[in-house]
Amino acid sequence: MPHTATEPRTGKTASGPIMELRDIRMHYPVARPLPFGAKKVLKALDGVDLQVPAGQTLGIIGESGCGKSTLARILSGLEKPSEGQVLFDGVDINELQRAERALMRRNIQLIFQDPYASLDPRMTIEQILLEPFEIHPDLVPRARRRAKIAELMELVGLNPDHLSRYPHNFSGGQQQRIGIARGIALNPRVLICDEAVSALDVSVRAQVVNLLQDLQQELGLTFVFIAHDLQIVRHISDSVATMYLGKVVESGSYDRVYEHSAHPYTQALLSAAPELRQGSSTPRELILLQGDPPSPIDPPTGCRFHTRCPIAQPSCAASEPRLDPLQGDHAARCFFPGPLNLGSG
């Protein structure tokens, strides 16, 4: 794969970010065990800066509980962050007036993890797919809507004759295709996939991922692809961000992050994933992390990863590293970025 780090893999032209997160914090109050106890907050996201490049796919990886799904909900506008800005085309989506927000809704859509739960069980597929056009009646004239949803069905590889069926009549993969059809109905520019294929069978997963890639080329979509399945992220992403305990610890183009990972957490994540590609430079050394991730209610001082980090120094507990640029757009939140040398090989 002889291409440079800055050039997107799929040949999609890179331009400025379509979405940008600026110092996003999401704090949830936690119920106190005693009425006089100290007030506690769960810091699901604690200062996230992220740029979503237009027309490309940004993969977000990290273990459960690191704030990936909260990030998806904030990006899509389902939740307002406690602090920080969510910019779409340079405009903060949470500052918009009612009418502008309705227009904004069309631009950002979310594909959910559980395909069945995301479809109203009492609606036919036709009703489900007509809903976007009923909410935004100016988009497609009433007479054209049935033809439009038939087109959508074909676009996602479903039989338009099945419009009168209910969600439970479909398989998981087909249900997710319906969810995708609904997601792209309003011609969004950004599609956020929150573990969109994790609930599917491995074989069906491939079909849905391929469908998403086809749609991206056909419709010029920007993807934010959130997953814990590293293989899928690597398959689809142009750039990657690694999250740990509510912070982005490493970000950059796909090649830099995968081939030259600088943060020990990213390296541990990648080493835990089965390596299937043949001819890969050198087999990764397996890095096993000790223990569970610390609680986001009471995160460690200094670098949040120091409690589990194989190369932690005493200074790591004292102050927090910043997300420092290494090369190009590649950045890592570590005092000692670079390939791990554990002294064993």
Binding site: M1, S76, G77, L78, R101, A102, R105, R106, I108, Q109, L110, F112, D114, A117, S118, L119, D120, P121, R122, M123, E131, P132, I135, H136, R165, H168, N169, F170, S171, G173, Q174, G179, R182, L186, D201, V202, S203, V204, R205, A206, Q207, V209, N210, Q231, I232, H235, L276, R277, Q278, G279
Partner: protein, 302 residues
């Protein structure tokens, strides 16, 4: 990543099995094979027809207060008069049949009103939460604190002339708090479902979300609860009328017949027997019907 691609290379998925379950999935037994639903459904249907068209059951003959002969007062059942004769000398079978209308009407209308109030108010409380929910829930708590029958008696006392609509009004006034709480808890569960969030992402407003997604998905348990409540409302009407605070003559109802029979229990026990049997069967029919409906809508029950 060409030929040595991972499992998610293009084409790999083409052979994957991604087949939908057959549309007729699940062994749905025919409804008439389920005895409780069939029997209770028949009773309910029969009683509703009786309430709507009592003439069908009395051979289009004389009405309840026609063709009466005071000389035959309190006569025991005979071939000519299957249920005997009442105090006024009228055919008791005709009277009991015509008595269905008041009971059924009260039961169904009160339950329907309670259902409508509970569906709307409960959905609003559960969906919006916060102070809206707090206000509605406290009002429900207060209404719950009142003993139902006692409250209905107090309200009915305010009316000098009582007819079927005043009874319906008094019962409906205090019949909704249970349903509101019930609906609220179903809505609390449903409002966080992903399809609700999906609708919000598409730009749907609160009114649309409540009407199209929340209520249709949350209303089934409430429907069952209120069907179970029809029997209770029929008993309440009969009870209120029996103690003289419900319907008054010349209305015809099972409660009134029971009240009148009270004084002749030795001389004419049939006056007590027949309306009591009809009342019991009707209440039982509605309760069983509600339970059958609940099992019908419960996917785990299958």
């Amino acid at each position: 990543m060409s030929a040595t691609s991972t499992t998610i290379g293009p084409g790999d998925g083409a052979q994957a099995v991604d087949r939908a379950p057959a549309p007729s999935r699940g062994a749905h037994r025919r409804w008439w094979l389920r005895p409780r639903l069939a029997i209770s459904g028949t009773i309910v249907l029969l009683m509703i027809i009786m309430a709507a068209f009592p003439q069908l059951f009395t051979g289009f003959g004389a009405g309840p207060t026609e063709n009466c002969d005071i000389m035959l007062s309190n006569q025991a059942p005979s071939a000519a008069h299957l249920f005997g004769i009442d105090i006024q000398g009228c055919d008791y079978y005709t009277n009991v049949i015509y008595g269905a209308r008041a009971s059924i009407l009260v039961g169904i209308v009160v339950s329907a009103i309670a259902f409508a109030i509970a569906a709307l108010v409960g959905a609003i409380a559960g969906y919006f939460g916060g102070w809206v929910d707090a206000v509605i829930s406290r009002i429900c708590d207060m209404a719950f604190g009142l003993p139902f029958i006692l409250a209905a008696i107090v309200v009915l006392q305010l009316f000098g002339q009582r007819n079927i609509w005043t009874v319906i009004f008094a019962l409906a006034l205090f019949s909704w708090p249970g349903g509101v709480r019930f609906m609220r808890s179903s809505v609390l569960e449903i409002r966080h479902r992903e399809y609700v969030q999906a609708a919000r992402l598409l730009g749907a407003g609160n009114r649309r979300i409540i009407a199209k997604h929340i209520v249709p998905n949350a209303v089934t348990p409430l429907l069952v609860l209120q069907t179970l409540g029809v029997g209770g409302m029929i008993s309440a009407e009969a009870g209120l009328t029996f103690i003289g605070i419900g319907l008054t003559p010349p209305a015809v109802s099972w409660g009134l017949q029971l009240a009148a029979a009270r004084d002749y229990i030795d001389a004419a026990p049939h006056l007590l027997l027949f309306p009591a049997i009809f009342l019991t069967i009707t209440v039982l029919g509605f309760v069983l019907f509600g339970e059958a409906l609940r099992d019908e809508f419960d996917p785990k029950g299958k």
